[in-house]
């Protein structure tokens, strides 16, 4: 029973992406089925931590918990050019290398503060190999998209409704909006 619910949870949190639980998969391979890219389990873990650094777990789930890194991989695999897929992987590797140079340890072994620092330096366009920027640009955009369109965020935070609970109103008072920009 436990195993079954674990599988169900995995599928749930990834929100629409088919994930093979890793124990059903070859060791060393990523947990989701990709058509074009070859991703190792270690690369997947690294991407999960990068996603988690961009949007961490707080009182609510973060990007890793919601599978945004897997969404990023799915998008990259299906919707991007081969060159982008390659530069993404080269950039990922290069990011880990520049992290080692700066902190004398891999990204996986960095503290959360160090992880934030290195990503912010990339975002602030400090001196890095160009593929690092290419990687980060895609990774951040897709992590944000995956997070914002995840089932959890859509249902609990942005509260998208298939049928709006309010009729259209073109003269709505801003002061009546709640913190999420919705009607009080």
């Amino acid at each position: 029973m436990k195993r079954r619910s674990a599988i169900r949870d995995l599928i749930l949190i990834a929100g629409g992406i088919t994930i093979l639980p890793s124990f059903q998969n070859k060791p060393g391979k990523a947990s989701l089925a990709l058509k074009n890219m070859d991703i190792s389990a270690d690369q997947e873990k690294l991407l999960a931590e990068i996603a988690s650094t961009i949007i961490p777990k707080t009182a609510t789930p973060g990007a890793k918990e919601l599978g945004s890194h897997l969404f990023a991989l799915k998008m990259l695999d299906d919707c991007y050019e081969k060159e982008d897929q390659q530069i993404f992987l080269t950039g990922l590797k290069a990011l880990d290398e520049v992290t080692k140079k700066r902190f004398q340890r891999s990204f996986m072994r960095c503290t959360p503060a160090q992880r934030e620092k290195i990503l912010l330096s990339v975002e602030n366009k400090e001196t890095f190999p160009p593929e690092v920027f290419s990687f980060y640009e895609i990774m951040k955009a897709k992590t944000l998209q995956g997070y914002m369109t995840s089932k959890y965020v859509v249902l609990n935070i942005t509260k998208y409704e298939i049928i709006p609970s309010v009729p259209y109103n073109g003269y709505y008072r801003v002061k009546n909006l709640n913190v999420n920009g919705r009607q009080l």
């Binding site: 929100g15 629409g16 992406i17 650094t53 961009i54 949007i55 961490p56 707080t58 973060g62 799915k74 998008m75 299906d78 919707c79 991007y80 050019e81 934030e116 990503l119 912010l120 975002e123 951040k140 944000l144 998209q145 997070y147 914002m148 369109t149 995840s150 089932k151 859509v154 249902l155 935070i157 998208y160 298939i162 049928i163 709006p164 309010v166 009729p167 259209y168 109103n169 073109g170 003269y171 709505y172 008072r173 801003v174 002061k175 909006l177 913190v179 999420n180 920009g181 919705r182 009607q183």
Partner: protein, 571 residues
């Protein structure tokens, strides 16, 4: 005499045959079957049943694998349909892929098609405006194409007829250039749209912003409930198919209505190869159909045939209907069939911002999308160096925006609390194009599709008039927006091809004179009176209004005529 699969001649004989089940074919089906005529409706694509066959209708954003985006391999394999704004993960299954049905682009033309029961009425944008005599008299006044054989007074009762049944939300705006109709309550303008509307009335003559008139059941009448439709709930997911029947489509409205009469036979997977002409009788006797599954050729017979295959396919079909009497296509004695094709010029849009109105925003969703500006250029008299004019969309919205810089808990917090940004507006031009003999479609002499139909060659281009009109739209809107306090005005020329407006029209135009037109004022072929063409192919000129409402009204009017002629033994 026939095998069982095909059925006997008697089983293949009907009172009326309707070729096509989209916007206008659905109306022909409804009107004929309601009058008690046994009607065969032929559709080249698959069946799409209302509600049951809308697989994405109730999906949340996270249920789309790529959040709406089409995978790159599909985009690359289908460059033409990929340029259509609605070819996305939630509705792509309603659009024809490039490779499925090839055609020949002598000039770049994006032919956007929906081959299924309901056709493009499933995915249309639902804007529905009547034509006035400023439109019907356009060619005669300005000296292009040929005179329309009909006027507003001929059409008004038929517009009313279809509006009441389809359900059109709108205001009675009292504008001579955009006649009022039988309206359900309009979707209102918002604070900035209203502001622009009022400013224009003060500062200009004959320039109006009105609520876009749309085929949505803002407040259904009994006739709509009777169709099994319900109130539009402003989901704004229409192109997926609406399980409520909140907007008009053949699938939710005319076809189930026709079905209920017991007089309709709907046959999907049926490409019509040609209309059969009987030289002895001097009229059409039926159609040759290719079953797309078995590839078998089957003939069906009827007293009257309505051609509603979609503008360019109706051209293809009649050009392909050759006989000893009509070697160049059925009814094509003057050689003009396929010529004088026109479309709408959507090649310009713009955006702007305005300060103020900060205490207001919008909530909910507006199915009408905002405001509509009927044509004001060259309306009462010729006043520019180009012919005709343009309508425009005008919608205002308050953008909401999160600062996405940085990483970590702070970024996460900002994502959950978007800031309400300034008011912005968007507008797009919908320009009339002038039909020309050189903008045309024809049949390729050698290449054929999987069903042995010749490939259609399309040669349709923008012209200098279109470019001048686009510049005028930019100039006029920049001036109007500047004069009314908007700023940061950005114009954008869209490099889109003709066809992507999905308003292709003409080729089998109506007119008074058989020498210069193909159809008479009742949409009958001048020289083969029991064949009627009432889809976009019949259009003599395009005006600026979205055309579907006019196709519906022309169809209902033509069926009424055909029925009377049948009763009098004239067809």
């Amino acid at each position: 005499m026939e095998d069982n699969y095909k059925g006997s001649v008697k089983e293949r004989s009907f009172d009326a045959i309707v070729i096509g089940s989209g916007m206008s074919g659905g109306w022909a089906a409804k009107e004929f079957t309601e009058k008690g005529l046994k009607t065969l409706v032929l559709e080249r694509g698959r069946d799409v049943k209302h509600i049951k066959d809308y697989p994405t209708a109730n999906k949340f954003p996270y249920e789309f694998e790529h959040r709406g985006e089409m995978p790159l391999d599909i985009k690359k394999a289908n460059p033409i349909i990929n340029r259509c704004y609605a070819f996305r993960e939630d509705a792509a299954h309603f659009f024809v892929k490039d490779s499925e049905h090839p055609y020949i682009e002598e000039k770049p033309f994006d032919w956007i098609r929906g081959y299924q029961v309901g056709g493009k009425s499933l995915m249309w944008a639902k804007a529905t405006q009547r034509w006035s005599d400023f439109d019907y008299e356009g060619p005669a006044r300005d000296g292009f194409a040929v005179d329309w054989p009909i006027r507003e007074k001929d059409m008004a009762p038929w517009y009313s007829h279809v509006e009441k049944f389809a359900g059109i939300a709108g205001n009675r705006d009292g504008l001579k250039q955009l006649p009022d109709g039988e309206f359900l309550p309009a979707f209102p303008l918002n604070v900035v749209e209203d502001y622009f509307k009022k400013q224009l009335i003060q500062k200009y003559e004959h320039r109006h912003v009105i609520s876009e008139r749309v085929a949505h059941l803002s407040k259904p009448n009994p006739i709509h409930y009777e169709q099994g439709r319900a109130q539009c709930m402003s989901r704004n997911l229409c192109h997926r198919g609406c399980p409520l029947g909140g907007y008009f489509s053949s699938n939710s409205s005319t076809l189930p209505w026709a079905e209920k009469t017991g007089n309709m036979t709907l046959r999907p997977f049926s490409v019509v190869h040609s209309v059969i002409y009987d030289e002895q009788k001097g009229k059409a006797t039926g159609v040759r159909v290719i079953d797309t599954n078995s590839k078998e050729v089957i003939e069906y017979y009827a007293k009257v045939i309505f051609v509603n295959a979609g503008a360019l396919n109706s051209n293809l079909l009649l050009l392909n209907s050759t006989s000893h009497r009509f070697p160049n296509g059925l009814g094509n004695d003057n050689g003009l069939m396929g010529k004088f094709v026109a479309f709408h010029n959507y090649s310009a849009r713009l955006s702007a911002e305005i300060d103020g109105f900060k205490e207001f925003t919008t909530i909910g969703r507006n199915p009408a999308g905002g405001g509509y500006m009927p044509r004001f250029r060259n309306l009462f008299k010729q006043e520019t160096n180009f012919l005709r004019g343009y309508a425009a969309g005008f919608n205002a919205y308050r953008s909401s925006h999160s600062d996405t810089s940085g990483v970590g808990a702070d970024l996460k917090k900002r994502l959950a609390k978007p800031e309400v940004g300034p008011w912005k507006i968007g507008s797009h031009m919908m320009g009339e194009t002038i039909p020309k003999e050189t903008n045309m479609v024809s049949l390729d002499q050698t290449r054929k599709d999987d069903f042995d139909m010749p490939l259609l060659k399309i040669s349709v281009v923008f012209d200098e008039n279109d470019e001048k009109m686009r510049q005028d739209y930019f100039d006029q809107f920049t001036e109007m927006l500047t004069n009314t306090g908007f700023k940061n005005i950005k114009t954008q020329t869209s490099s889109q091809n003709p066809g992507s407006d999905i308003h292709e029209m003409g080729g089998i135009r109506m007119g008074h004179d058989p020498k210069t037109s193909l159809l008479n004022k009742w949409n009958q072929l001048h020289v083969c009176k029991n064949v009627y063409v009432t889809d976009g192919a019949c259009m003599t000129s395009t005006s600026t209004q979205n055309p579907s409402l006019t196709y519906m009204a022309l169809t209902a009017r033509a069926v009424d005529h055909a029925f009377a002629e049948l009763k009098r033994g004239e067809l």
